[in-house]
């Protein structure tokens, strides 16, 4: 088991290394002053508290969508609806915040739950289609992203739009619903603690509850799960709904922590990034914050670099693509691993009795 973890860690490091190396090559070829560009890229996020705060701010929504995707992928449900769930979650929170008045502390909690419910309902549709009609959740969740987007726009435009505001935007969110700032000099908000709480909750759910166990077994071998008496249809259903809830909560937290009004008139993209985070973390909830931070760091670094140098921030897109390809490339380092296994096996062979002990 440990060897497997070591091997997976090696593979991730190699992937990151190769991707960064490629990024350096690109920077060296396109930049007039590659040294400075590189410095901004690698160290920029650490150069000021504000920049570092930006990394953390970006990591918060990524933790939510990363967790959402990892729950669904653990069950081998390839639902890509975290994007729509995140968006509709923010809409749900806006709707609550602008419709009811609740006391402070209670209000953000209710708003986040409301966002979660919205996200969960959104994902319930592909989930139901899969468990009842065996429709591919991949296709229907992709479609659902657009449906939820337009539904959200419709709701905001028709019920919560502030006609006075210049651009399309909702009314101002009441103060008592907003999440407080937790780091002086940055916009890092209380959502960071909610995100870490979710990491622990998701971990406990997956590895310490009977529903999590059933979910994991369905992911490992659905026929085995069925044979064991696990209700696989319900797992298919609740894994996706829970994914939707987490994504929706993420949308709500992002809105309440970072914005004064609902102003998104395109999909924010955190759902897609969540897929990258989940893949890098091998769906392990405890690793999700690590890779959310990592991705945030790359993004902010590239952004800082592009602001003061001639290297475009799109470099990050290339890095991401390469990392994902290498991490998911099953055969990467497989030869190395095989040699490791062979070597180990050859050493501790009992020679007597002709006995190669299998198992």
């Amino acid at each position: 088991m440990n060897k497997k973890i070591l091997f997976e860690a090696m593979r991730t490091l190699v992937a990151i290394g190769v991707a960064l190396l490629l990024a350096f090559i690109i920077i060296f070829t396109v930049s007039e002053d590659p040294g400075y560009a590189l410095q901004r890229f690698l160290l920029g996020p650490l150069s000021s508290l504000r920049n570092f705060g930006n990394v953390l701010e970006m990591a918060i929504p990524l933790v939510f969508t990363g967790l959402a995707i990892s729950v669904m992928f653990t069950a081998k449900q390839f639902n890509l609806g975290a994007e729509g769930g995140f968006f509709i979650g923010a809409v749900g929170a806006t709707a609550l915040a602008l419709s009811f008045e609740l006391p402070p502390i209670i209000m953000p909690i209710v708003a986040i739950l409301c966002g979660g419910i919205a996200g969960g309902l959104g994902n319930a549709i592909p989930a139901l289609l899969k468990s009842k009609l065996d429709a591919s959740e991949l296709v229907s969740s992709l479609m659902m992203n657009y449906i939820l987007f337009w539904l959200g726009i419709f709701i905001i435009n028709n019920y919560f739009r502030d006609a006075q505001a210049g651009a399309m935007a909702s009314h101002r969110l009441p103060e008592q619903v907003k999440l407080i700032r937790v780091l002086e000099g940055t916009r890092v908000h209380f959502g960071i603690f909610i995100a870490l709480l979710m990491v622990i909750l998701v971990y406990l759910f997956l590895y310490r509850s009977r529903w999590g166990y059933a979910l994991r077994m369905v992911g490992l071998n659905i026929r085995f799960a069925e044979y064991s008496g696990i209700n696989t249809k319900s797992v298919v259903l609740y894994s996706q709904i829970i994914g939707g809830i987490i994504a929706g909560m993420g949308g709500a937290v992002e809105l309440l922590g970072m914005y004064t009004r609902f102003t998104w008139f395109q999909l924010p993209g955190y759902g897609w990034d969540g897929i990258i985070v989940a893949i890098m973390a091998r769906n392990n909830p405890l690793l999700i914050p690590v890779f959310a931070f990592f991705l945030g760091y790359l993004r902010i670094g590239a952004d800082l670099m592009s602001r003061v140098t001639d290297v475009p921030s799109e470099v990050v897109a290339i890095i991401q693509g390469i990392m994902i390809m290498l991490v998911t490339a099953e055969r990467l380092l497989a030869g190395w691993r095989h040699r490791m296994i062979v070597k180990e096996k050859m050493q501790n062979q009992p020679i007597d009795e002709g006995g190669v002990q299998n198992g």
């Binding site: 310490r208 009977r210 071998n221 296994i341 002990q357 299998n358 198992g359």
Partner: protein, 517 residues
Amino acid sequence: MDEILSMKGITKVYPNGIVANKEVDFSVQKGEIHAIMGENGAGKSTLMKILFGMEQPEEGEIHYKGKKVTLNSPSVAIDYGIGMVHQHFMLVPSLTVAENMVLGIEPKRNNVFFDFDKAVRMVEEVSKTYNLDIDPNAVVLDLAVGKKQKIEILKALLRGAEILILDEPTAVLTPQETKELFEELINLKNKGLTIIFISHKLKEIKQITDRLTILRNGRSMGVYDTKDISEQEISRLMVGRDVILTVNKTDAIPGDTVLKIEDLSFYDKGNKPVVKDLSFRLRKGEILGIAGVEGNGQGELVEMITGLKKASKGKIFINDQEATKLSVKNIRNLKTSHIPEDRMVYGVAAEGTIGENLISDRYDYPVYNTGLIQRVKDLVQKSNELIDDYSIKCDGHTQQVNMLSGGNIQKVVVAREFSSDPELIIADQPTRGIDVGSTEFIRNKLVELRDEGTAILLVSADLNEVMELSDSLMVMYEGEMAAYFEDASKVDEMELGMYMLGLKKMEVKEMGGALGE
């Protein structure tokens, strides 16, 4: 006689770390029938897959007709004249015999169109040359197992095989079919073919082979002339000790009916009956064996009883409760356990840990949960207990199941299924493809459970196994009960074969015993 082929110092390590072959030397002489013997998991198939180019060894050399060769794919091996008939046939069921035989080497008309007539002629030609009778126009789907095997052999011969590897060819055959196969093999040998014959059945080996190589735990235990070595010596070399695969078993003392099947039928997607109006009962403290060539409805019967498939017609009662439409979970709650036919598909989550696999039927029991949280410590303790009780050879409960040998994987399944105080066990091929030690263990455990009052339905393609273990025995042929024997110990193997092949069928009134009439 001269050596046509030799393998030297072959070592093969699979990606999961299992050392399947370790410094194995092996050679065959032209025109002999050479047996590779060894219990399940000894590495016989692996060695032959290396010879056929399907697996690459970590170390070792292969010499063919005096030259060193590299066999890195089956097509290379075929070009050299090596042919292999696998344990599982590789035929396309919907095509005809001729079409299957020329797959990949299709004769063409005008270099474009498939020339069916020529294909038929090619088949007729080899079948005549080697005296192996087959109808080129028959559809493979409709053929019996013995015939399918014949096609596989002919397929290899058509491709110019000089060395023919047969991987456990008799495992799937009835006694009659085995006899026929042996005559054909001797005939092929007389025509100059070299045959490598894998088996772990001692009697067969003594019958037809000239020499034999014994493998144990991936190593060669030497080469012997068949006539110079006794069955007992062979078995000692194979297993490392004397094995008596007979189970010590007293007469059954059957109690009340636990499982009752009434007019049960199952229709496949094409509305073809796969199980037809089957009725029987199984009592407490009794082992009822079901013999039959695979694919005669046994699998569907098991799946209906265990809730994985829904019956098309008829009723199932477990302890007087109707279970026909119950879910798998509810049937398990009626104290039913199930050893599935294919352990890797149903029996385990291969990528899960041993611990996770041992608790899949009880993870949600109240004793293992406090509120929302699982009592992980108790589950781990239970897993460790089971690993000890069933002597599962492993590095601990966190080891991944696919790192274990076949026998130990089956022990994981059995440990889970036997440890839930079952009143009814459906055991489908419980010892298929596993080593002698695990086989003995599982068979004894089944008898032990029977003695404690468990009702056991045993489905097995292994005639020895059903005859040894069963108290009563029925034969299934084309979804129907073809025979029922109240006392399994009085059944003759050849007679059983006749029922299995559909050459004989009992009258309904002769089988009344199945219903306790």
